[in-house]
């Protein structure tokens, strides 16, 4: 039976106590302690498969600890702690519960050793996280959350279908390398791909994340997509189709990021672009590449959370994160500005910042395996991400034209969370060895060579030069209040028309059916009334005389018949 508990359960069960705690202070301390306990508990666990449960003829492995699951487990717990600190000022308990259950289920899924356990946690992440969107409590967040939930739960349903086929084919539900040769393998890849925001399956991310609450988006940015990256790395390492998929993912969202006005949506597009690097790493599948994916996921969660935190702080204080409305905020929020720039430098992979020491592994792997076009695409995407996340985000929010908006600096708890994340970004960038030691395979990689530093600086600074030139010549597109069409258009416009049409068709059909039925019934009723009603032949009251007459006639007939 279950002797060892999945660390995710600690957070999930622990979250349920939160509403019962009186006062913000006690609740805050409790929520801070929870991930620390889970972390200490995880440290105490040995490597291996534990927590087996027999279910019919399947063996569930509810806890599997190995190097791959550990990296993701650790970073998920760090992200949980940062998310809790960042949200300490929030009084609304249900956001805290949703956030902790969500984090716990993502951690639970990472340590799942079989598909059924994975599926259960997979669906809990979907259901718990939507409350972080709905907590914004406005109609567009409600609608967006619903679309998000349908797609996320859909991913789970496809996963379950794939798992059933997989079980029929192999007789096993162990979650290991899957491969795409079988139908089951294809289904499971689609399920993972939806959660990983593959091209054309991606738009739930840019739709829902910017609609979530200030603190909710920070939590959302960490877990769902990186859980999918973990699942892909576990099930599909070395699957070649992932290389082009990942390369497309790195490139196309950055075009949208350039023209998007909502700065949290810009970050959602660049999140998508960063996932592309990880997916390429999984597709290449060498030790170097998989190390790169794990390292990049680790660093990415930290700098992406930092960037979402800084934009969340702006939203919290100013009430908007639209580039067209902002500018000049560095006066009011100097600390937030500084932390945002650190996050921006990290995602851009500047030397001495975290992105540099993790993305390099993937770039080097692509180079080493001779994927020329992929390498060229990743290089373009690297320049592009600096352009829109590294420069655009801090520039339009904190500098550019002074919008005249003045506000208070972010609350202390937000600043602390940002400071910790920023410290990680710089710390890992300067001294990557502790992270390298955590990676699934041995690392024989030196990120800081003269060649590497100089070429990266050339790429980035000339990207900055391009921005400067375009800005000064007025070619750079201004931030405009707008909506840019993405794949969600298909279900939000023609999809809705189709649904409206189907609904009208249904109601018309129903009306016709009901009409015909009523007309038929009326006809029958009228006929009955005619014959049996008060005026009907069979409904008339006949006089006694006529009855005697007819009785006599009948009897007479009987007598005559009997003599015949």
């Amino acid at each position: 039976m279950m002797s060892e508990l999945n660390p995710g359960i600690i957070l999930i069960l622990g979250a349920l106590v939160v509403p019962l705690l009186p006062g913000k202070l006690l609740r805050g301390i409790y929520m801070l302690v929870l991930p620390v306990i889970a972390f200490a508990y995880l440290q105490s666990l040995p490597v291996g498969e534990m927590g087996q449960i027999q279910l019919f003829d399947m063996t569930l492995v509810t806890l599997r600890i190995d190097k791959l699951s550990l990296v993701f487990g650790y970073i998920f717990l760090i992200a949980t702690l940062l998310g809790v600190i960042y949200a300490l000022h929030v009084g609304d308990w249900y956001q805290h519960v949703a956030g902790l259950v969500y984090a716990g289920s993502a951690i639970g899924a990472v340590f799942a050793g079989d598909f059924i356990t994975l599926f259960v946690f997979w669906e809990i992440t979907a259901i718990s996280s939507v409350f972080l969107v709905w907590a914004s409590r406005n109609s567009s967040a409600m609608a967006s959350g619903l679309r998000y939930l349908i797609i996320q739960v859909g991913s789970g349903v496809i996963l379950l279908a794939g798992v059933l086929f997989y079980f029929r084919d192999t007789g096993s539900i162990a979650f290991n390398a899957i491969g795409i040769e079988t139908f089951a393998g294809k289904l499971i890849l689609i399920a993972f791909g939806i959660k990983c925001a593959f091209p054309l399956l991606h738009n739930w991310l840019q739709d829902a994340y910017p609609e979530a609450t200030v603190t909710g988006t920070v939590m959302l940015s960490a877990f769902t997509t990186k859980l999918a990256v973990y699942a892909l790395a576990r099930g599909y390492a070395g699957t070649e189709i992932l290389i082009p998929i990942g390369a497309v993912m790195t490139a196309f969202p950055i075009f949208y990021a350039v023209i998007e006005n909502d700065l949290r949506r810009v970050l959602a597009y660049s999140l998508n672009n960063q996932l592309g690097f990880m997916v390429v790493g999984i597709g290449i599948g060498t030790e170097l590449a998989l190390n790169g994916t794990a390292a990049h996921a680790f660093c990415h969660i930290l700098y992406k959370a930092l960037l979402f935190m800084s934009m969340g702080a702006v939203l919290y204080r100013v009430g908007t994160v639209k580039g067209s409305e902002l500018g000049g905020l560095y006066r009011s929020m100097p600390w937030t500005t500084a932390f945002c720039i650190i996050g921006a430098a990290s995602i851009s992979a500047f030397p001495l910042f975290s992105g540099f020491i993790s993305k390099s592994l993937i770039m080097s792997a692509a180079m080493k395996e001779g994927h020329f076009w992929v390498w060229l695409t990743l290089l373009f995407a690297s320049a592009g991400v600096f352009h829109h996340s590294g420069i655009k985000i801090p520039y339009f929010a904190f500098f550019a034209h002074d919008s005249g908006k003045r506000c208070k600096e972010a609350p202390t708890n937000m600043l602390i969370a940002m400071a910790i994340a920023a410290a990680f970004c710089i710390g890992l960038g300067v001294y990557p060895d502790p992270l390298y030691a955590l990676l699934p395979y041995d690392v024989k990689y030196v990120p800081y060579t003269l060649e590497h530093v100089v070429t990266q600086l050339q790429l980035l600074l000339f990207s900055a030069l391009a921005f400067t030139v375009l800005m000064r010549t007025g070619i750079y597109p201004p931030e405009l209040r707008s909506t840019n069409l993405d794949t969600d258009w298909f279900y939000r416009v023609p999809g809705r028309h189709l649904a409206t049409f189907a609904n009208r068709f249904r109601s018309l059909t129903w009306e016709w059916l009901a009409d015909t039925a009523v007309r038929g019934a009326t006809k029958i009723h009228d006929a009955l009334y005619r014959h049996h009603g008060p005026e009907g032949l069979f409904g008339r009251t006949w006089p006694t005389g006529s009855m005697a007459f007819w009785t006599t006639v009948t009897l007479g007939a009987v007598v005559i018949l009997s003599y015949l």
């Binding site: 180079m367 373009f380 707008s482």
Partner: protein
């Protein structure tokens, strides 16, 4: 709703709030510093030994040119996308 007023109603930063970076002269200085560093990076390029397997990487200033051209292309393409994809902010509102 879109474009019914100028999002930046030409706010002028009051003189007492102006800082170093608000002076156009200083912004120019930063830009010149960027030009200088970019120039330096291109000049030292031939002296950096590159180990990669792709020939293109060994051309003089490849990373610099690629970064610059890539980003200009990115922005121009994105600008073009606006023609087809941009809608008013309240486009999806019922």
């Amino acid at each position: 709703m879109a474009a019914d007023h100028d999002p930046h109603p030409h706010f002028e930063t009051p003189p007492e709030e102006r800082t170093w970076i608000d002076e156009p002269k200083n912004v120019d200085r930063i830009v010149w510093a960027l030009y200088a560093v970019c120039g330096l990076l291109v000049v030292i390029d031939p002296f950096i030994h590159k180990h990669g397997p792709f020939e293109i990487e060994h051309y003089w200033g490849f990373y610099a040119i690629y970064g610059f051209v890539g980003c200009v292309g990115l922005v121009l393409a994105a600008k073009l996308m606006r023609v087809f994809l941009m809608r008013p902010e309240d486009y999806y509102d019922e």
